[in-house]
Symmetry: C2
Subunit: 422 residues, 2 copies
């Protein structure tokens, strides 16, 4: 089975100015096509370090994928270095040149500088991968039976090249193993309790099938992965084991697909042709943007009132001022009134609401930072839950959002059939 | 100067199930304290690969920081392996044991399993770093004058250990170089035009000061970094060069601090004691969550109406149905009406609005995917801008959000003093 190392180039990665999202995406796509990424290495914009990385990873892997280090201000280091490593010289690639000209003249309407024109230079011995989304071309090299591909670090450009050129090329040139995953999502149970609960299942797995525990946002994903050179029997075996696993964890099961809680709700609500609105205080729009990150969510999501200020809670959501002054903004009474209010003004079948103290400021002895009330319901009934998180602002917000989406899921499945709005 | 390698352990990183945000945070914090991260390596939950990574990185760096591979279901591999590498055996650490017991009994109210108790086991030769936020203790080793620290991969737990224990320890044990950064943010100019514009400035920089171009969300950040063992003169020189750089890029300058556009607005509006509301269609809450991600934003942000559905635009924001049927939801007229509407119902000094087609569906010949209208204004005046993005849903949303926040910044600074609301 062909092994892959990913090398990401750029000082911005080593000083932490940007988060590397490229590698995760690449690994996912490569995995689906039967390739295994066994190392990921980040190195700086530095001749010695990049050469060392190339040398090392060519002993670790059959395929070495590089991202970054290209672009109008980074070309000076990476391209001459690739020429040195592959013992060649820079030449102008005509197709890349007309691409650069087209982008500047016809799309950006910006003056074309010498620096831009130099982007069309590539090492003479490489196979050029044209960039349909930007100015820096990709470059594919072969050396001692290893394949090296250098791509720009801009995610959108790299993804296009990978999908359209690099992965198809690799599939043509390497025998790939058969890899298959089955993933389910649980809520309301810890990793160690799950592990104890299914210990005998895990111990009885055949060597070509592995179980992984993937805790994320207060939920735990369980993934079975089969990795073998024979497809048919393995797939049957995997299905059988996955059914077994599902029935063992059924009390905590959210979904048996590898999707997020917002995708679960998308599927439930579009299938039922029912609608949702949200009323957010402490999450400040985070719940709505999770919901709307799913393409097609407009089919069921009508909108939201982000009532960050108490006056907005009163004026737009119609929360009784008496509730706010007696129970306070972070209370069960308020979060219920928010659900009621947003259903009234948006006319949706369901609504969810959040109110809490995300930190670092705003806590009190009675309501410390991390105190949150969430609610989900319809025009007839509302369920609520009090949460208390001990994390930072970002994580408190993320956890609140995932919990309120799961509360809605629980509310919907608990409804007796006759109570479900038409 | 002490060099650091970061090793992240976990199959979930190699199959792309999670994005590594730990490394970026660690690099930032280490950098501030004068340490240089020169490699980051991700490897799987696999004995041979982890041992190889330890061996290799101990030749590349003085300090090797490991994250991940600890936790109730991962301990089986990593801890015995650390014992093997450091030639020692597992023993129970009493303080870690009472921490595990306390978390399960007093905080989680969950049954304590044998697996949880095993988390208190550590290699006998290590210095234990207690985990105040979770059950897996950190472990510090010394071998052949190199320092190795193993920490859990949960970001919140790792961050606590780094801040409270690891960085203070490293500062005590290594001479650190003096590192200082100056960063500014530009908008409305490409990386290559900037590079040409300041080419002579860049070429005249002394060897101990470097300039980096960091494109992000359609804006370009410029960063000067000084790295030397003498502090005083360098700091003066850096200030002088930074002033020069600022004046050279003043037409595109957004801020001369290393902060985001939402932090720029937070500072502007809290200083002016003025308020903001938003009306979002296509961004679905993304703008509001960027604004509210800044602690203390409730001082100026009142709330938002996410009018994903056209009926909500009419009913709550008061957009004239005639505008929606003639010009359409994605139009200058609609985005203006959204600003007007939200100012009216939220009573804020300023408001911003977005409407557009984020994709992949919903485009037409006249209004293709990526067509967006944004607006910013007050009760007297509104400015608008049409954008056209060629990216995916996620990136179109991020770019729209950053552009509308920058439009508001431009609107506010363009106001004559007498027109600014009190």
């Amino acid at each position: 089975m062909a092994n892959i190392s990913i090398i990401t180039i750029g000082d911005e990665l080593l000083i932490g100015q940007v988060i590397d999202t490229n590698s995760a995406w690449m690994a996912q796509e490569l995995n689906k096509s039967g390739f295994w990424v066994n190392r990921r290495l980040a190195t700086g914009d530095n001749r010695v370090d990049i050469l060392k990385a190339l040398e090392e990873e060519s002993t670790n892997a059959d395929i070495i994928l590089l991202t970054g280090g290209l672009g109008p201000t980074a070309d000076d280091i990476t391209k001459p270095l690739l020429c040195e490593y592959f013992n060649t010289t820079l030449v102008i690639n005509e197709e890349a040149l007309s691409n650069v000209k087209n982008i500047f003249i016809n799309i950006l309407h910006r003056p074309l500088t010498d620096r831009n024109l130099k982007q069309a230079e590539v090492p003479a011995s490489c196979q050029v991968i044209q960039n349909k989304r930007g100015t820096a071309p990709g470059m594919l090299f072969e050396k001692k039976e290893k394949i090296f591909v250098s791509m720009p670090g801009v995610p959108y450009e790299m993804k296009g090249m990978m999908t359209e050129s690099v992965i198809p090329y690799l599939k043509n040139h390497f025998d790939t193993n058969y890899i298959s995953h089955r993933t389910l999502l649980t809520a309301g149970v810890g990793e160690s309790t799950l592990a104890d609960h299914i210990q005998d299942f895990e111990e009885s797995l055949p060597p070509e099938i592995k179980l992984a525990y993937l805790p994320n946002y207060g939920m735990v994903r369980l993934r079975l992965t089969a990795n073998s050179n024979q497809e048919g029997i393995l797939e049957l075996q995997l299905n059988h084991l996955f059914s077994d696993l599902k029935s063992r964890v059924k009390e905590w099961l959210v979904t048996d697909e590898d999707i997020s809680i917002q995708e679960v709700l998308y599927k439930m609500l579009t299938a039922r042709k029912q609608t949702l609105s949200t009323a957010e205080s402490c999450t400040g729009g985070y719940v709505a943007q999770l919901i709307t990150s799913i393409p097609g969510s407009s089919a069921y999501f009508k909108g939201s009132v982000i009532a960050y200020d108490n006056n907005i809670k009163k004026k737009i959501l119609g929360v009784d001022p008496a509730i706010l002054s007696s129970a306070g903004a972070v209370s069960e009474e308020t979060v219920r009134a928010m659900v009621n209010g947003v259903i009234k003004i948006m006319g949706t079948d369901f609504a969810i609401a959040t109110t809490g103290i995300m930190g670092p400021g705003g806590g009190s002895k009675e309501k410390p930072v991390g105190t949150v009330w969430i609610a989900a319901g319809n025009a007839h009934e509302i369920i609520t839950q009090k949460l208390w998180f001990r994390f930072d602002r970002q994580r408190n917000t993320e956890l609140t959002a995932v919990n309120v989406l799961n509360l809605l899921r629980r509310f919907i499945i608990s409804l007796p059939a006759e109570k479900r709005p038409a």
